[in-house]
């Protein structure tokens, strides 16, 4: 078996607060292979972005990695500090942010921003960088790239700016891209274009993608595998078809049932009762048990069963019951 591009083992992130230490990411493990898109889903505050930030080494202090390991192409990167980590960013790990309107520097042309990124990581001349910047814009489908290279971000529409952001994230050819809600701030009509662009570019280059989103539609369209997160923990991990059509974890099931589908004439959307627990008030045992329709006695005190591919962190997974 080949080494996965990204391998996270038991990753935990802690934030010391006045009310004590909270764990926005708690013992999460998953792998992403070359050319694979792993969708990471969950509600706001489930820790999915926090895990992404931990991987690229951009946790905002006082948040920090408190346990576990992060391996990139067979090299352990979580102990790396400052300058070593900076050299990986952009070069080995690219990142795409949610809001294209705010993630580009308004005072520099898109060509400048592309060239400076490439010059930082690649041994090329200024002239080459300028040429490759045009090529990068062409690749992400910006019409008239050669003329637009000297344009400022405000001269592009939202969708076009997200294309520029993608070009920036990919311009040094990283082996892993973390896309943190890349379509959330965009018009619905543009979302699909951006997703298919991202998919195509990563397929062509064999880039591994961590696609963080709360949109099940995006997951269904783009992801190969899915990691479902709840309250900082992994709830379920598996192949996208299995997870979406036959969810094992009651939370995933609730999430799926509460996603509107245009094709089905549903009368009312399902709701998961209650809300995700605050990190300061995490329940014992399974974090989902106060909201779970299939809660058992042991759920409120026993530690969760071990997680693995195609499994759910649940004492009464749905599929198992169906089999029984």
């Amino acid at each position: 078996m080949t080494t996965p591009v990204l391998s996270i083992r038991n990753l935990s992130v802690e934030i010391p607060t006045r009310q004590g230490i909270v764990k926005p990411v708690d013992g999460v493990s998953y792998d992403i292979s070359e050319g694979e898109i792993l969708g990471v889903v969950g509600e706001s505050g489930a820790g999915k972005s926090m895990a992404g930030n931990a991987v690229i080494g951009l946790l905002n202090a006082p948040a920090h990695i408190s346990g576990g390991e992060i391996w990139l192409n067979g090299v352990r990167i979580d102990p790396l500090k400052g300058e070593e980590m900076r050299k990986l960013r952009g070069k080995e790990i690219g990142m795409i942010f949610q809001d294209p309107l705010t993630s580009l520097n308004p005072l520099l042309t898109v060509g400048d921003q592309l060239a400076e990124t490439m010059l930082t990581h690649l041994p090329i001349s200024r002239k080459e960088a300028a040429e490759r910047a045009v090529a990068a814009l062409e690749e992400v489908g910006i019409p008239g790239a050669a003329e637009r290279i000297d344009s400022y971000p405000h001269e592009f529409s939202g969708g076009m700016r997200q294309r520029v952001v993608i070009a920036l994230a990919l311009c040094a050819e990283p082996s892993l891209v973390i896309a943190d809600e890349p379509t959330t701030a965009l018009d619905v009509s543009v979302q699909a274009q951006i997703i298919s662009l991202l998919k195509r570019l990563c397929r062509e280059r064999g880039t591994a993608v961590m696609l963080i989103t709360h949109d099940m539609g995006v997951i269904a369209e783009a992801a190969d595998r899915v990691a479902v997160m709840y309250a900082g923990r992994l709830a379920e991990l598996g192949n996208v078809r299995d997870v979406l059509t036959q969810p094992r974890h009651p939370y995933t099931h609730g999430l799926m049932a509460s996603t509107p589908l245009a094709s089905e004439g549903q009368k009312r959307l399902h709701q998961i009762p209650g809300a995700m627990p605050r990190l300061q008030h995490m329940p014992n045992g399974c974090a989902f048990h106060p909201r779970c329709p299939k809660v058992q006695k042991r759920c409120s005190h026993d530690p969760l069963p071990p997680m693995a591919e195609g499994r759910a962190a649940c004492w009464s997974p749905l599929l198992a019951e169906a089999v029984e």
Partner: protein, 327 residues
Amino acid sequence: MLAFIIRRVGQSILVLLIVGLVAFSMFRFVGDPIDNMLGQERTIEDVERLRTQLGLDQPFPVQYFKFLEGAVQGNFGVSYRQGRPVAEILMERAPATLELAAVSGLLAIIAGIALGVFTAIRRNGFAAHTIMAASLVGVSLPTFLIGILLIYLFSVELGWLPSFGRGETVSIGDWWTTGFLTQSGIKALILPAITLGLYQMTLIMRLVRSEMLEVLRQDYIRFARARGLRDRVVNFRHALKNTMVPVVTVIGLQLGSIIAFAIITETVFQWPGVGLLFINAIQFVDIPVMAAYLMLISVMFVGINLIVDILYVFIDPRLRVDRKGGH
């Protein structure tokens, strides 16, 4: 762009006309200069003759128009006290003030921006905290007190630097005199320049710091870091440039007030500039000098503001409206 500049120049002229009216009204409403000029022993004839000579017997609108007519040509009348043309006196004094203002302004801008950036980047460091605490002193101590303290320390106790005057000066051209070329001139400049620039420096520093902290929180800074750009590039090329728009505004205003508030520093250090001239003019109700000074300062303020507005356009591409847009 051109339309923008023309509009701004038009507004500037309007401001100057209003200031001109205020300056002119001083002739009418601030005491009677004749009293001061002639002293106790005078005859009615003397008073009337002087009044006619100075044009003070004419109706208000005529006087205002004459004042404006002269002002546009750089003619502000004759000083009541010295009996010489005001323009000539001002020209004589201007180099001293302009040199002092230029040095303090540069000091304030360079040190202010450098310290502001430093305290923003190392915001939790010991040095940054110390500088921030010290800057409170700079903001809260009045200028004259800083001047007096500096004189006490460096002139009286240590005896390193002169406490008053401009030192030896060298003439350049017809009317410009400079203190930059002699050792005593440079020595004499140090204390007044620090006194005048300290407040502006701390103000610029605190502004740069808070703006920079704000910019460092922006998404594009995170994205720049996520692309692995060097810290130096992120801090200076990305963050500082975005900090500059509000900072340039304030720097522009501060440069104006450096010249305007040179009065206090010039008084403390007996610096032979226009500020000291103005203070003396007030003591003797020398209205033509006061009016001319007022006009001079307002021309500078208006001019600096105009330059600042044009600078924005260079810094921020979003303000360049005539570029082609589209998607």
